[in-house]
């Protein structure tokens, strides 16, 4: 997943800067594009509307642009533009609606259908989209999802993905190069070079490539709605969008140390995507590198089972507390944390340790109040000085809220 954001230098004014940031609701324009039938609306429904994979068969084709506002963590709103992928619409986006669609884009998610018969044509459309994007929103991040990987035999998947990924990378660089050639006044050669030097470090891609990274931030994922790969891709996408990420991360770390946990995961309430996480040195020994998206997948399908059993709506809250003690191996619990989040804590065994950790997590809720939205955080922040940020009990040790996060 993406690298943790750099913490800008700590200067005396930083706490107030962080607080100022807490107040505003961040809006992000997210474009979801790809050929018709490639699975855009299906994945959107699964992630944000708690559809089951098999229920997405009921979805019809998206006509024109389906706009939805997804409230994420209270202080981030995703403006999700689900763009119908039929060719007539595509041409329309690229011509008449070009400025409307492609300006101020935060993230473009482009979906390729791995089973598509006409790859050349898909790539041609993709190149056009990228050109338009570079023209109007040059800072936008691009995520390419090679979708429907479940249709490929498991042994072949990696090879097929690598092949397709290399192709997409090459096309992306070509598209960007063409735009720069056409509009030399927009990107002088010096700037361009600088960009090219910067980009490889700031856009970690899951697979290494000998090719020069395209001068826009591009990440590729192999996904399928039938397994957890979808959650991995979307967790990376939203990871970069969450405001105050460094605050969350430092506070999770101090909580983790205080309660002697092995791992803490923070989930968003409806999508159950991992917003942030902390792992102890011992927890890093866990051989399951894909455990975060796996947890999302497990809990989400569990939520679905509950909703079926209780007859409550899919998006409703389904469980409040969970605890699991696995003898002398480990203990874990998950609980509703703030209004918009659930927390999952995995820790060493021991009854006393477990119970005190539960109490401490409940006590730490107030640290994370700011996740619930700008109103709460404004009050919270107003009451506390730069020294004692957010009313953390001093016994919990150093609070890391002093770092700011440039965004």
């Amino acid at each position: 997943m993406g690298a943790s954001p750099a913490v800008a230098g700590v200067d005396p004014t930083s706490p107030s800067a962080a607080h100022a940031q807490l107040k505003k609701v961040k809006k992000q324009k997210v474009l979801l594009m790809g050929k018709s039938g490639s699975g855009k609306s299906s994945m959107r429904s699964i992630i944000f509307s708690n559809y089951l994979a098999r229920d997405t068969r009921r979805l019809g084709a998206t006509i024109d642009i389906d706009l939805s506002h997804v409230k994420f963590l209270g202080n981030l709103t995703l403006n999700l533009w689900d763009c119908g992928g039929q060719e007539a619409f595509m041409e329309n986006y690229l011509s008449q609606q070009r400025a409307h669609v492609f300006s101020n884009v935060g993230v473009l998610i482009y979906v390729f259908d791995i089973e598509s018969r006409d790859i050349e044509r898909d790539l041609a459309t993709y190149v056009n989209i990228i050109s338009a994007l570079v023209q109007y929103s040059r800072d936008a991040k691009v995520f390419v999802l090679i979708h429907k990987m479940d249709l490929i035999q498991p042994l072949m998947r990696e090879e097929v993905f690598e092949h397709r990924a290399a192709l997409v990378r090459r096309k992306t660089s070509e598209a960007v190069a063409i735009v720069h050639k056409q509009k030399p006044e927009q990107g002088s050669s010096g700037q361009q070079q600088q960009q090219q030097q910067q980009q490889p470090t700031s856009s970690p891609s899951p697979s290494s490539s000998t090719q020069l990274e395209p001068p826009i931030s591009l990440q590729l994922f192999a996904t399928s709605i039938w397994d957890q790969s979808l959650y991995k891709a979307w967790a990376s996408i939203i990871h970069d969008l969450v405001p105050n990420l460094s605050v969350i991360e430092t506070q999770l770390a101090s909580l983790g140390l205080a309660i002697d946990a092995d791992e803490i995961l923070l989930f968003e309430r409806t999508s159950f995507l991992v917003v942030s996480r902390w792992t102890s040195a011992e927890g890093e020994g866990n051989p399951y590198g894909d455990r975060f998206e796996r947890m999302s997948n497990i809990l989400k399908s569990w939520k679905h089972t509950c909703s079926k059993y209780t007859g409550t709506p899919r998006n409703a809250e389904q469980f409040s507390d969970f605890e699991y003690k696995m003898g002398a191996t480990f203990s874990m619990f998950a609980t509703k944390f703030t209004t918009n989040t659930y927390i999952l804590v995995c820790m060493p065994p021991g009854e006393a340790r477990f119970n005190s950790a539960k109490l401490n997590v409940a006590a730490a809720r107030s640290w994370f109040k700011f996740l619930d939205g700008p109103v709460v955080s404004a009050q919270q922040v107003g009451g506390s000085g730069p020294g004692a940020t957010m009313g953390v009990p001093s016994s919990y040790g150093a609070d890391g809220a002093a770092g700011t996060h440039e965004n």
């Binding site: 098999r54 479940d150 035999q153 039938w226 397994d227 092995d262 791992e263 011992e282 020994g285 866990n286 051989p287 399951y288 455990r291 796996r294 947890m295 497990i298 809990l299 399908s301 569990w302 089972t305 509950c306 079926k308 059993y309 209780t310 409550t312 409703a316 809250e317 389904q318 469980f319 409040s320 507390d321 969970f322 605890e323 699991y324 003690k325 696995m326 003898g327 002398a328 191996t329 480990f330 874990m332 995995c346 060493p348 065994p349 021991g350 009854e351 006393a352 340790r353």
Partner: protein, 411 residues
């Protein structure tokens, strides 16, 4: 009969190649019910009833395990069923399964050890000009014959072949349970499913009564690998093979009454087949949620419990201020878990009984606060269950009822 040793070799190879889930549980429990034992008891019971028909105990075959035979027309879904139920294959992946060319033997070491034989559908074992099958080797010790019928296909031929099979078997092995899975019903409407079930039932019973066979042990189940119905059907099949099932059920019923559980299941963790439940009416919804809960626990265990922590970690945890070995810091050496549902705060609890079995129960609203007392009761029942499996070793099952429960003061 002499082929027994070869078979064993096959069986071993099969299990090692199959995708197996890491064992979530580390202890080797004395309660593991050895199938050989069960089989032996069944055989002795049978001998009492009709002496001559019991397979010869001295033959090498009898050291085998009770067997489930999966038969049916080709492409009816036999291999998919065994992959989904016994190898945890996601149902969507069964599209990639090749057609089975020879008898596929799977051996499962679960709470009961049993074998599942997947028969290629294209072979007619009763009428094969090239090769005569050793009937006794195939049917000699099977617990149940599962006949799979594709409900989305023309099933007349399948029913006809099933009839022939039943007629053949009834002559030599009348004790074999015949379980008909009317399969692939996920795409069909409820009414249509029942119509098919009625039609198949009538066709088979008519044919059998024409041949003068009444009350043949034939049961029907509507199944699909895309929901829990296949597990439910297998549960019913397996429960018929368990000796003294009534005793187990009585223990669970008693627990439910004392602790005011809505429903309790004793699950085989690896297959998610339930081997016993209390005597309240069958309820698919509670089976589903309990079975999914077992899944959640298995997954968590795999991710966080299947790798060993460092020695330093343990030393730190056992040092000051705890100053106790980790084993003594925990209340229960087996896995225990609880989850509170948001609506009406209805908890679900799970408690591991031994390496293979777990007790899962849905509790009454608002009883989460009483967890400590409930845990005490569950402890007693778990001990009773462990004793039960211990006792079934010998032929004498203690006549006493289920162990007494501590009064929980829940009323």
């Amino acid at each position: 009969m002499t082929s027994a040793s070869v078979e064993d070799g096959d069986v071993l190879a099969d299990t090692s190649s199959g995708p197996s889930r890491p064992r979530p549980i580390r202890y080797i429990s004395p309660a593991a019910l050895n199938l050989h034992r069960v089989y032996e008891q069944n055989r002795q019971r049978l001998r009492k009833k009709d002496g001559a028909k019991v397979p010869d105990p001295t033959a090498p075959q009898t050291k085998g395990k009770p067997r489930l035979l999966l038969m049916g027309q080709r492409r009816s879904g036999k291999s998919s069923i065994s992959s989904v139920v016994f190898h945890k294959l996601p149902p969507s992946e069964t599209l990639f399964l090749e057609s089975t060319a020879r008898i596929q033997k799977d051996s499962l070491s679960s709470f009961m050890e049993f074998q599942v034989w997947d028969f290629p559908g294209q072979i007619d074992i009763f009428d094969n000009p090239n090769f005569t099958f050793d009937m006794d080797a195939i049917f000699g010790e099977i617990g149940a014959l599962i006949w799979v019928i594709d409900a989305q296909d023309d099933y007349l031929e399948a029913v006809a072949r099933l009839n022939t099979t039943i007629l053949h078997l009834h002559r030599s092995y009348p004790h074999i349970n015949i379980e008909v899975f009317i399969h692939k019903v996920d795409g069909l409407s409820d009414d249509y499913r029942l119509d098919i079930q009625r039609d198949v039932t009538i066709r088979i019973q008519d044919e059998l009564s024409d041949q003068g066979i009444e009350n043949a042990p034939v049961n029907f189940h509507l199944t699909s690998i895309y929901n829990h119905s296949i597990f439910e059907a297998f549960s019913k099949v397996i429960q018929k093979l368990i000796p003294r099932l009534g005793q187990l059920e009585a223990m669970l019923t008693n627990l439910c009454r004392t602790c005011r559980f809505e429903k309790a299941y004793l699950f085989d963790v690896n297959t998610k087949i339930y081997i016993a439940t209390d005597n309240t009416p069958e309820d698919m919804a509670s089976y589903e949620i309990c079975s999914d809960y077992v899944d959640v626990i298995i997954d968590f265990t795999e991710v966080y419990g299947s790798w060993s922590r460092s020695e330093k970690w343990r030393e730190r945890l056992e040092g000051e201020p705890w100053a106790q070995p980790l084993d003594e810091q925990v209340a229960c050496e087996w896995a225990e878990s609880g989850m509170v549902l948001a609506d009406a705060r209805r908890p679900i609890m799970l408690r591991e009984v031994d390496r293979f079995l777990a007790l899962v129960a849905i509790m009454k609203e608002g009883s989460y606060e009483k967890m400590p007392q409930i845990n005490m009761n569950v402890d007693v029942v778990v001990k009773g269950l462990t004793d039960f499996f211990e006792i079934t070793k010998s032929k004498e099952v203690s006549a006493g009822g289920p162990p007494g429960l501590a009064s929980p003061g829940l009323s």
